[in-house]
């Protein structure tokens, strides 16, 4: 496997940002009650992390090490605000969908984590690939969690009623099935992430730490 391919593929499983590096947990818990929100968040992070990694990588030789965290924060905040402003002017509908996520992207530790761990020490192209790879790895977990939380919590997927109508008692609900309201709350997201981590480590013993 080539070095560059590894940058993309590693974070998808064996070096997953959420389950292995434990980055981006907060947003994985906060916004996964619906599959759609998970997907929107994933795409936003893909964009910001891809571009942000390149910017930080280009600046890596001039950033003073004493204030590098603040510089990283400024770069990501500026990027996100620029995108938000441009969307508000040219794609207002889209910007309304994204508005809630703007604050969440800036504070997402996966962004700062990859800036600090990778972009500061590598060239722009490799940093770009690292950004894409990590945000894809993040997306995979978000979408899995969002899938189960929306399906079991609301009985829908992307807003479409999959299991029937809970009020009119059709489909599964006719047999006495009930939505699990607990799935909609953040603690359940933590449990789902925990289950993913457990499944992953039981299949690949090399990932188990002492």
């Amino acid at each position: 496997m080539g070095k560059d391919t590894k940058l993309i593929l590693d974070p998808l499983a064996d070096n997953n940002p959420i389950t292995i590096q434990v980055l981006g947990i907060c947003s994985a818990l906060a916004i996964t009650a619906e599959l759609e929100a998970s997907i929107v968040m994933s795409i936003s992070v893909l964009f910001v992390l891809g571009v942000g990694n390149v910017v930080i990588s280009l600046m890596r030789n001039i950033i003073p090490s004493k204030i590098r965290i603040i510089v990283q924060l400024i770069v990501v905040a500026t990027l996100v605000i620029i995108v938000d402003l441009v969307l508000k002017a040219f794609a207002y509908e889209l910007s309304k969908t994204l508005s809630v996520f703007v604050g969440l992207i800036i504070t997402n530790c996966i962004i700062m984590g990859r800036f600090e761990a990778f972009a500061l020490g590598n060239g722009p192209w490799r940093s770009f690939l690292d950004g894409i790879g990590n945000s894809l790895g993040y997306a995979v977990i978000l979408i899995i969690v969002g899938f189960f939380r929306e399906l079991l919590g609301s009985g829908t997927l992307l807003g479409i009623k999959i299991l029937g109508d809970p009020v009119a008692k059709t489909g599964l609900y006719a047999f006495g099935y009930e939505n699990n309201g607990f799935m909609l709350l953040s603690p359940m997201a933590l449990i789902v992430v925990g289950i993913i981590i457990w499944v992953q480590r039981s299949r690949n013993k090399a990932l188990i730490e002492d």
Partner: protein, 264 residues
Amino acid sequence: MEKRTDKNSYTVIFAIGMVLVVGALLAYLASALKPMITENQRLEKQQNILYAMGINNNTPGSATFISTDEAPEKFEKYITDQVVLEVKDGKIVSQLSREEYKAKNSGQEPYLIDVKKQQANAKAGKNRKLPLFVGEKEGKKFYIAPIRGKGLWDAIWGYIAMDENMVVQGAYFDHKGETPGLGANIKQRYFMDDFYGEHLLTEAGVFKGITISKSNADPTNQDKKDYEIDAIAGATITGDGVTAMIKKDLKLYVPYFKNLKNKQ
């Protein structure tokens, strides 16, 4: 060996330079794009108000506005009048028609009144300007009032369309930063549609408002006179915010509707 970038002087200069560059860039973008953003917000208000009175492109299950191209023309056509009430301590001090208001406020349309600012005025003991939009569709009259309050994380607001008896004829809600999948669902149709036909006044004409209730035992919302709407699971605080803004802001319009009745 100390690197060039480790020096204190370099750090300070870098920080100042970065702040200047980023500040200038953001300030430039914000002011360059401001006219377009304001225009988008203006059209959105028109879409919101029209949505509340049932003029929209809804498909089953999803809430869709009429397009922004159509909005100004339809707004002109369906919103026949705009009234501005000035209230103080719950009493109407004066009532201005659309033309009177525009003449007094250098041509500003009443629907552009900033509800947030007016709420702050009321808190500071000043008069609060309450806009009310009168719409007419297929011979039926709608009275649409803007409301605004607090959700869990940030502001929530909406437009409630009523008939002359203060029976809800449509509702639109929006929010700034409620949790996706939970509180953010106040702008979903299954929540907004429930308000249709719901009464705000008791038989005796006393304002009761609508409560977002977790225990109303009426999930399909058959009872339109129970002053309750079924809550969204996992969004208690946002729901309470909706209850509060309905009770607080719509109550101010009650004297207007009483006058309306007396005139007839």
